[in-house]
Amino acid sequence: MSRDLDTIARLLGALPPPPEGWVEAAQELPRVRQALDSLLEQAEADAELRARLIADLEGALTEVGIAPTPRVVELVRRRLS
């Protein structure tokens, strides 16, 4: 398909980068999921850890190196309930 220069320029402008931090957050997803899976597996076998997660989820996540973003907190709450 032949495109003129104006069309090519317009199409280049149609795909700006997402705001700062979005790509990095999506790239972190596998690491965060693995860390969460491991944490929740431990919590199933450890009543004290489970109680701590329920009482202070954000603190417990931070302790194990997972940033307690609203999305992560919601995901863990759903899986704990």
């Binding site: 398909m1 032949s2 495109r3 003129d4 220069l5 090519i8 320029a9 199409l11 280049l12 402008g13 149609a14 795909l15 700006p16 980068p17 997402p18 705001p19 979005w22 790509v23 957050a25 999506a26 790239q27 997803l29 596998p30 690491r31 999921r33 999305r71």
Partner: protein, 187 residues
């Protein structure tokens, strides 16, 4: 399948992601982040907060559902459809009246067709030398001024203008005999 993840085809990246290759995942997200973002904000006109949630939801679903993709070469249409569904769900969740959602969807097909074409142009951009890729991306996609680009690259603004023009001509030539499905794309 050797070489940098960014040089691999979509299908090769998908296969590697499925095998748990973290670098391939990073490259896949990088390659398609602009496309997903553009569908959210241009195709479905999501506001910033909803767009960010939708963007992250899309990649979370890609991560969870990649195993269900039957044809790795069909990743792009699968991703476009997945993004479309996530955006529609988000629009519906935020509206009481179904009719207003349908209004928003009315011209989304045209926008999505344009974005598919834009992705093909980026495939062509990836074939250009690094200096052309950078200058065209900065000027057209990142909306940087001649002045800002010339300050960063240490070149006079007049040189920036002529280089943009020359690089656009090169891109046009690349696109004229381009077969995107056979090539690594979208950086």
């Amino acid at each position: 399948m050797e070489g940098r993840p960014a040089d691999r085809t979509d299908a090769e990246l998908v296969a590697r992601c499925r095998a748990g290759d973290g670098e391939a995942w990073n490259a896949l997200v990088e390659r398609f982040s602009r496309y997903v973002y553009a569908i959210c904000v241009q195709g479905f006109r999501l506001q910033a907060h909803d767009a960010e949630d939708a963007f992250q939801d899309v990649f979370a679903k890609v991560y969870e559902q990649l195993g269900r993709l039957r044809d790795d070469d069909a990743f792009r249409p699968w991703l476009a459809q997945l993004t479309r569904r996530v955006c529609i769900d988000r629009l519906r969740a935020g509206r009481r009246e179904a009719a207003t959602v349908e209004d928003d969807l009315a011209d989304s097909d045209d926008v999505l067709a344009t974005l598919d074409e834009a992705l093909t142009v980026r495939d062509g951009l990836a074939q250009l030398p690094g200096d052309c890729r950078e200058i065209l991306d900065r000027f057209f996609a990142r909306d940087e001024s001649y002045r800002s680009i010339s300050d960063d690259l240490g070149l006079p603004p007049g040189t920036i203008a002529s280089r943009i023009s020359r690089c656009l001509e090169k891109l046009k030539a690349v696109l004229e005999d381009f077969a995107p499905a056979a090539r690594p794309v979208g950086r």
